[in-house]
């Protein structure tokens, strides 16, 4: 586990944004940061923020292990950060909703109650060990690689997030830690676009659900009238738009890792994954009922780009075309195990 993931603001570093861009950057940083306090001139992040570690949950689990992991992150992290705990496939066992996670070469089922318990342990460790000025958005993740991707499962996942937030409030933790849902929604996974849309619709409009998926097979050069350009397995840009922004709960945290390099129209460097999402963002700006997608942060992986590069590519893409987004708030890297 690396210790290099302290959040750093770099005011005044990098190119000077436009007046409009600065305003948007300021607004984005404040709004996405939520609990950030301090001088507002700190919020224009022109260089990659230090990253957090997110986790694919796997193997032997215990509340102690989650608490220990939360403590480690709390000690190492400063500012306002995002962590995703990905519990794997949506699953239903009997009457119990939950997820199946990777367990020593197989899979094992966890109910939403068990997941909530582990997430709460993580939060407890983070709270106990983190500085009072550190704030955490703790996103509880699943994916769309399952036959149980449904509105009912989305509703249960949202209810679980609600129970975690109630628990955090009852302990006095919610001043520093809040929970959200998350889904690794990818065209390449087994659930169809309509099933995945149903999950997101079922999640409702009470809490945030971060989409930390990829835009597999989507165009990285263009967008077109609804339903947009095709992506893998019959998905269209409009499906990604819904799952990243048009749905009330949806915010985008795209996976950006090693794919083909691009030189953007303004000369900046990016890659295919980042620009696939940028085309979805622009699709929303031109055709979407809710406007341009706000890409809240980048997610790197262990075997891909360095988190700073991942973030930089996304940042470059969302600011290479009009309308520019401005700031990208978060950078995280997802790893296997706690």
């Amino acid at each position: 586990m690396t210790g290099r993931y302290r959040w750093r603001w770099r005011p005044g570093v990098g190119s000077r944004p436009s007046i409009g861009g600065a305003r948007v950057a300021l607004a984005m940083a404040i709004a996405l940061a939520g609990t950030m306090v301090g001088p507002i001139h700190h919020v224009t992040a022109q260089t990659a923020p230090a990253f957090t570690l997110s986790h694919y949950v796997q193997n032997g689990l215990s509340n102690a292990a989650f608490s220990s992991s939360g403590c480690t992150h709390g000690r190492a992290t400063g500012g306002y950060v995002l962590v995703v705990l990905d519990f794997g496939q949506p699953w239903v066992s009997g009457a119990s909703y939950g997820a199946r996670y990777w367990y020593y070469g197989g899979v094992s089922f966890l109910s939403t109650a068990s997941i909530a318990s582990y997430v709460e342990s993580y939060a407890q460790g983070f709270y106990a060990c983190g500085a009072a000025s550190t704030n955490l958005r703790l996103a509880v993740g699943t994916n769309n690689d399952s036959p149980y991707v449904s509105a009912a499962h989305g509703a249960q996942w949202s209810a679980m997030v609600g129970s975690i937030n109630s628990w955090l409030a009852s302990r006095g933790y919610s001043g520093r830690i809040t929970a959200a849902g998350a889904i690794d929604a990818e065209p390449g996974f087994s659930a169809s676009a309509s099933m995945t849309r149903s999950w997101m619709a079922g999640f409702g409009s009470t809490w945030i659900a971060y989409n930390f998926g990829s835009a597999d097979g989507c165009s990285w050069t263009t967008y077109s009238a609804p339903p947009g350009q095709p992506c893998n397995r019959g998905w269209r840009q409009d499906d990604l738009y819904y799952l990243a922004w048009a749905a009330p709960a949806a915010w985008a945290l795209p996976e950006v890792y090693a794919t083909g390099l691009l030189t953007l129209p303004n000369g900046a460097r990016s890659n295919l994954m980042a620009n696939q999402w940028e085309m979805v963002r622009l699709y929303g700006s031109r055709y979407g009922s809710k406007g341009a997608v706000v890409l809240a942060g980048s997610m790197a992986q262990t075997d891909g780009l360095a988190p700073a590069t991942s973030w930089t590519y996304l940042y470059n893409s969302v600011n290479a075309y009009s309308p520019q987004q401005g700031a990208v708030a978060w950078s995280t890297k997802i790893v296997w195990g706690l």
Binding site: S18, G20, G21, R23, V24, L26, A27, M28, A29, I30, A31, L32, A33, G34, T35, M36, V37, N59, G60, L61, S62, A64, A65, F66, S67, S68, S69, C71, Y104, G105, V107, S108, S121, Q124, G125, Y127, A128, A132, S133, N165, A169, R171, G172, Y173, S174, G175, R176, T178, T206, W207, P248, W251, S285, K290, G291, A292, S322, W336, G337, L338
Partner: protein, 199 residues
């Protein structure tokens, strides 16, 4: 507790500042900008969700201020290092059902089932299946980790069956010795400790 008292705590101030920050942030975003879309209002339902979070943060900060250091959870020391799931037998191998088997990441092949043992001294997972390149070539994959949670990978080996007898499946295990059956019906024995086929 009066509002004035609440405001005397740093925690509460942070919470209230947060709520104000959220409102300020999105109100700035909604202001017309130069060289951009004329207005960028946050969709109302998203604003409502952010408002809910802001309320939660403010209430949490106020609650933390009320309970202060009397919160017993705050006194709990950091948890112990990672341990296996309670109830998981350390050192005793288990077979994963075929339907529950997930192949080893990054290894090309189709995998029938898997067997695992949780350390110490090591955690091992053994997969049985067939090579992607040659459907007649059965393979075993052995991954070893240094910790019970299998986060610190020591090694991964791909071992070919001695004969091209098709897909392998683990039928049973005794201690660290696995009995396998190949697609052509032949039986094989694999010793995990030796990472090799035997008799």
């Amino acid at each position: 507790m009066s509002l004035r008292n609440v405001l005397t705590t740093n925690v509460a101030r942070v919470g209230l500042a947060t709520a104000a920050g959220l409102a300020l942030g999105w109100s700035i975003l909604a202001v017309p900008t130069v060289g951009r879309q004329a207005t960028v209002p946050l969709p109302a339902e998203k604003q409502a969700i952010l408002d809910r979070y802001a309320d939660l943060v403010a209430q949490g900060a106020a609650h933390a201020a009320r309970i202060g250091s009397t919160n017993p959870v705050d006194a709990v020391p950091p948890a112990a290092p990672m341990v296996p799931l309670p109830g998981v037998a350390v050192g005793i191998g288990r077979l994963n059902a075929d339907a529950d088997t997930v192949g080893p990441p990054g290894i090309p092949g189709q995998f029938t089932n898997s067997w695992y043992v949780i350390g110490p001294p090591v955690t091992a997972i053994v997969w049985a299946g067939v090579s992607s390149d040659d459907p007649s070539q059965g393979i075993i994959v052995v991954s070893l980790w240094n910790d019970p949670q299998a986060t610190s990978l020591q090694s991964t080996q791909v071992i070919k069956a001695p004969r091209q007898s098709g897909t392998l499946r683990i039928e049973s295990a005794t201690d660290y010795v696995l009995k396998l059956r190949a697609a052509d019906g032949s039986k094989l024995v694999f010793d995990v400790r030796k990472s090799g086929f035997g008799r």
